[in-house]
């Protein structure tokens, strides 16, 4: 970690961006002979919106899966909050305060919206099995306290009207929002969003962008997101990592990335003559 990154900076719109909260150092991930990620390093600073972009198959989702503990890279280190993170199971990563959403919605279809979002509070709810079986006392107090926190998030994301609806009955756009609510309910230090706007129309994208900015602004949540819509990425993010064929080809502010020749080549293609 270099000293530069520890400084707190203030963005043009007045948000504070702190020191490095997560750092990926020389990550290499292979599946047999296929190298999905090749020697990539980048960091995520506290309070920023960090985008990972790249053409299909560039290794973006693999990168997110490395962060959330699904994949264990063959080489490289993951540093989280100033400590090197040992190989961990996904649920342990979640308990450390890293929440995520999925490219394909991964909600619990048989449960109501409220139950789905409440499940996100797993880190905060500690009552034992016996306390829960008795219900009165610890378990009920904890349930009510966490329900209040969850209701704030439900208000924030404007899904009050569907809180008792089974998730399976909701349309796509709302499901995406419920998934965001579930991730937010965990009060994560880092929120990973895997294509939060995939398959949405313009209005839904605008809504989702507003929510992402509001979350970042209101709760100061650090966000790392993968997105294909360039307009959205350039508008939302503070810094962008560009990947292509498992390699990092660009890293910097949206302006820097936009004028980077390697990035332009990756996206527009180059004439081979």
């Amino acid at each position: 970690m270099n000293d530069m990154s520890q400084e707190t900076t203030v963005t043009a719109d007045g948000r504070k961006i702190g020191g490095v909260v997560m750092e990926m150092k020389n990550i290499t991930l292979r599946f047999g002979g296929v190298v999905a990620i090749r020697d990539i390093s980048f960091d995520i600073r506290e309070g920023e919106i960090r985008a990972i972009i790249g053409p299909n198959g560039a290794g973006k989702s693999s990168m997110l899966n490395v962060i959330s503990g699904f994949y264990h890279p063959q080489e490289g280190e993951v540093w989280y909050k100033g400590e090197r993170r040992p190989p961990m199971k996904p649920y342990q990563v979640a308990q450390q305060g890293i929440a995520r959403t999925f490219q394909n919605i991964a909600l619990f279809e048989g449960m109501s919206v409220l139950d789905n979002v409440m499940t996100g509070r797993i880190r905060q709810m500690k009552a034992g099995l016996f306390a829960q079986a008795l219900w009165k006392g610890t378990a009920e107090r904890e349930e009510v306290a966490n329900r209040e926190a969850v209701e704030k998030i439900i208000d924030f994301l404007e899904i009050q009207h569907i809180r008792k609806t089974p998730v399976s009955r909701l349309p796509y756009g709302l499901k995406k929002r419920v998934e965001l609510a579930r991730a937010l309910a965990a009060e994560p230090s880092i929120l990973l969003l895997d294509e939060p706007m995939a398959g949405m129309n313009v209005e839904e994208k605008e809504d989702m962008s507003r929510f992402i900015l509001d979350v970042n602004d209101e709760f100061g949540t650090t966000i790392a997101l993968i997105e294909h819509d360039m307009g959205v990425v350039m508008d939302l993010s503070d810094r962008v990592v560009v990947m292509d064929y498992g390699k990092k080809i660009g890293d910097g502010t949206p302006e820097e990335v936009r004028s980077n020749q390697a990035v332009i080549d990756a996206y527009l293609g180059v004439a081979h003559d």
């Binding site: 996904p90 308990q95 619990f108 449960m111 079986a133 349930e143």
Partner: protein, 358 residues
């Protein structure tokens, strides 16, 4: 008309979290409890207790247990018969070894022992799912029955290989043995059923239930938000085993009094309880009651109508019962996979609006 939520405002999350949020439902629940505890014991005779109430109450506990495992946590189990046998034999050994201790505690400890055995056989669930897990639990079924048949220590080396429940009393009233009054056996089981149902309801509406359902609906997503799959699955096996063990202990000590393990706790028992859960409704405590009532009452009803009413031979009626139960299971799986509990929910939705169309 009378079945309305209008005007019934919830002003706290405690109110909103109630088991019966609608006032009418709540009063009906209290009425059922009062009738079950204060009215029925004075009305019933030996036939009603042994043909209807005891099997209903005991199977309900087993169905609640299995429903937690299959309906809430999504782990298919065909070992219920074997686990009930664990409860029964644990209860027998405890009753014989510690005659001075109240049978109430014997039954509870039997549940605990069954929970431990159930966790042991639940370990494969960490690696395998669905049909494969069903086969693994099937192994538990056959192994446990074999064990209780072959190892003399479990039946205290009795010549017949059976276990017999000695007489035990609660507050001076016999609840097991030949001298038991019908109402005493009924009340003893009723207390267990009610407590088990309340405990199960509390567990399933809280975080434990949400973890189980998360594993059931999408185990990968559950893990990514912080559910430890190992812990969630094994607690489901433990809680399920506890209830199934209690039902096995009651089935042996209060209901039958004497048990030959292969006959009573065979594979048929596993399927019977599974059918109760499916017909009653997966993932519903009420469904466990409904399913148990349905499969206990149906044979009694058919027998009374066909043999008693129409004068058919008993064997014909018995075989017709198999056909009807089998057909009903197929129909339920196709038409209403969520079982009687879902029919009940739909009926309530309709009643809420009645007599208006919208």
């Amino acid at each position: 008309m009378f079945y309305r939520e209008a005007g019934d405002f919830k002003t706290s999350y405690v109110d909103d979290n109630q088991t019966f949020p609608i006032r009418f439902d709540r009063y009906r629940y209290y009425a059922v409890l009062v009738a079950a505890f204060a009215v029925i014991p004075f009305l019933i005779n030996d036939y009603w207790v042994n043909a209807v109430f005891l099997p209903f109450l005991i199977y309900t506990i087993a169905a609640i247990g299995l429903n937690i495992l299959v309906g809430y946590c999504g782990q298919v189990s065909l070992g219920t018969g074997g686990f009930m046998a664990v409860g029964a034999y644990a209860c027998y050994k405890l009753m014989v070894a510690f005659p001075e201790i109240n049978i109430f505690f014997h039954v509870i400890v039997s549940g605990g022992i069954t929970a431990a055995v159930c966790v042991l056989f639940g370990l494969p669930s960490l690696r395998i799912k669905g049909f494969y897990l069903a086969v693994a639990t099937l192994a538990a079924q056959f192994f446990l029955v074999w064990l209780f048949n072959r190892v003399g220590w479990f039946y205290n080396y009795s010549a017949s290989g059976q276990i017999n429940a000695p007489e035990r009393t609660v507050f001076g009233v016999a609840v097991t043995g030949a001298q038991t009054a019908p109402w005493a056996a009924y009340l003893f089981c009723l207390i267990f059923t009610v407590i088990c149902a309340i405990l199960a309801r509390n567990l399933t509406r809280g975080m434990a239930g949400r973890k189980w359902m998360a594993i059931r609906d999408m185990d990968i997503a559950a893990e990514i938000i912080g559910v430890n799959p190992l812990k969630a699955k094994l607690t489901a096996f433990a809680v399920s085993g506890f209830f199934v063990g209690i039902s096995g202990a009651l089935f042996f000590s209060v209901y039958l009094g004497a048990v030959e393990v292969g006959e009573v706790f065979g594979i048929n028992k596993s399927f019977l309880v599974l059918f109760m859960v499916i017909i009653g409704g997966l993932g519903s405590i009420f469904g466990s009651f409904a399913g148990a009532a349905f499969l206990v009452l149906l044979p009694v009803l058919l027998k009374n109508v066909l043999v008693g009413g129409l004068g058919w031979p008993t064997d014909l009626a018995a075989h017709l019962e198999f056909i009807i139960v089998g057909a009903l299971i197929v129909i339920f799986l196709i038409a209403e996979p969520h079982g009687l509990a879902q029919l009940w929910r739909v009926a309530k939705e309709k009643l809420r609006l009645w007599p208006f169309p919208h």
